[in-house]
Symmetry: C2
Subunit: 337 residues, 2 copies
Amino acid sequence: MRVRLEDVARAASVSPKTVSRVLNDEANVSDATRQRVRAAMEAMDYRPLPSARSLAGNRSFLVAMLYDNNDNPASTYLAEIQDGVLEACDSHRYSMMMRPLRMRGDDFVRRLDALIADHHPDGVVLTPPITDYAPLLKRLRERGIPYASVSPMSRADNIGVHMDEQLASRTMVEHLLALGHRRIAHVSGISDHGASGWRLAGYREAMAAAGLAEDPALVVQGAFTFASGVAAARQLFALKQRPTAVFAANDDMASGVMWAAHEAGLRVPQDLSVGGFDDIPLASQLWPALTTIRQPSREMGRMAALQLLEVLRGRGDAQMMQMPFSLEVRDSTAPVA
Amino acid sequence: MRVRLEDVARAASVSPKTVSRVLNDEANVSDATRQRVRAAMEAMDYRPLPSARSLAGNRSFLVAMLYDNNDNPASTYLAEIQDGVLEACDSHRYSMMMRPLRMRGDDFVRRLDALIADHHPDGVVLTPPITDYAPLLKRLRERGIPYASVSPMSRADNIGVHMDEQLASRTMVEHLLALGHRRIAHVSGISDHGASGWRLAGYREAMAAAGLAEDPALVVQGAFTFASGVAAARQLFALKQRPTAVFAANDDMASGVMWAAHEAGLRVPQDLSVGGFDDIPLASQLWPALTTIRQPSREMGRMAALQLLEVLRGRGDAQMMQMPFSLEVRDSTAPVA
DNA sequence: ATGAAAGCGCTAACAT
DNA sequence: ATGTTAGCGCTTTCAT
């Protein structure tokens, strides 16, 4: 039948408690004993029963990845992060669970409490935009549940990962400037995402550095969706003096801009250069292939989860890690006509 | 502190076992008692502790969704299914966990056993192509772990969901025929996916019904990826007599075909009509928007999980459900020139 | 550094 | 229809 901790103890001629110590990497076990117990575990292919461990130890070995399913239905960005989080959890023998969590609604705290009561995650990984939803963070702290964030607005007092998105954004705009573009438009994202602010700031910074006064008509608010990209582009194309390049704050909107360009009979990149941000698989599948900023989403999910796991395992060295970006120049950008 | 089952029992003036009966919808509780216990649970906001339930009851209330992460990195198709499975599990207070599982490798059974030993899922949801991997099914049966499948090759002795993909495929080809196309090519998928066979069969059926002899050069093997769609299309375009329409077995390959068409200077749909299958979000974001077969992936995930849950809850009425498809005519198909 | 005893919060098996 | 008892397989607390 099932091999229990007690069986391992017997085989190694130690008490159950000692096996438990070895299993949990606790102190006060001599090296010799530790080896012996490890060998017995190995030999018997011992697998601790999660429910017994959880019940007795009052922890679940479970990490929940929280995401807002409001504007993000089946997004590839989230899927990649999930992949990384899962890998990190696996490597430390934690389970992972995906939990959609709508922010809107006055019963938010109740729903969060229900999630915790039902599943008892030891910690959570937060993805934008709920990385910065104050009621959520407050409640997690009250409940003593550690969390790590992917690209939160505030880096202070936070662990997880972030990228210098403002610099990345500036890099993209500088690429367009170097191609001779001057009328460069920006389609921004939803304001409660930190990404929107950083990417807009990077755009402004690059434009200002190039000595270009900001034309308010060239900055259009989007919502990170394909449809919002289409709408923003139509608005830009209707301008008496239309832009020669559009930098959209993410790839989905950039694909909307390209779609609208086709619709308007504008050739990309000959009549219009288009830049995106994220480098989701879609970027390479568009025609022409989209020039964009590569964000290592999978790796970011992995690193964020690893920081969380450091805390859960009682290590004090969890940090806010900075991840590198890269400019992927493809075929949607070209010298200004 | 935490409200335990014992507390509810005291409040309702019954024994713990009776509360347990109510909690698990067991028989042999009078309606009056049941009501009283339910009211007490509600009033005290009682949440059973999963680990205690699992340990004592020897079940985990956990459903694992197994997928092959070999050729499917971060696919939107899987993300949608996941979404549906999650909703179904939530509705029955089960947890869900995603588990990538490579089929290749001789240690497959060992890895599956480890998965089971580590997480103890009560049941699993299988996605293509592992729905038909014999060693997997064999082991699950040996271990007595129920499973439900999404679009398995064999419907016999299986529960889950399927679609009449052959008819759907035939419908697409008939759409192209109705537009006057005669040289219609097909880019098929990987052979170990049932989908490849059904979609090819539907293509052949429609062509034969139209009295068209099959031209072997018009059927090219792909691999369900964008890159394979590009490669297949290049091969088709190199034909002395190239096709006027291409039906790819999924949207990713169809997008590859469109990409290659652009590359070759062929206009879609004027010079070439292109059809896909699945209706992933990408389909609507391409230019021109892709005509495709809509597969209700999210709903399919939900229904498959619901069938599994019927079994887990001891109901005998789990089935292989058939889901409807629809032809989404968009802008990538047009009358033959 | 190691062990013995007492639970964690539920459910199974057996009463009644 | 309801209750009693004895665990499930671990970790805790407290000894030694």
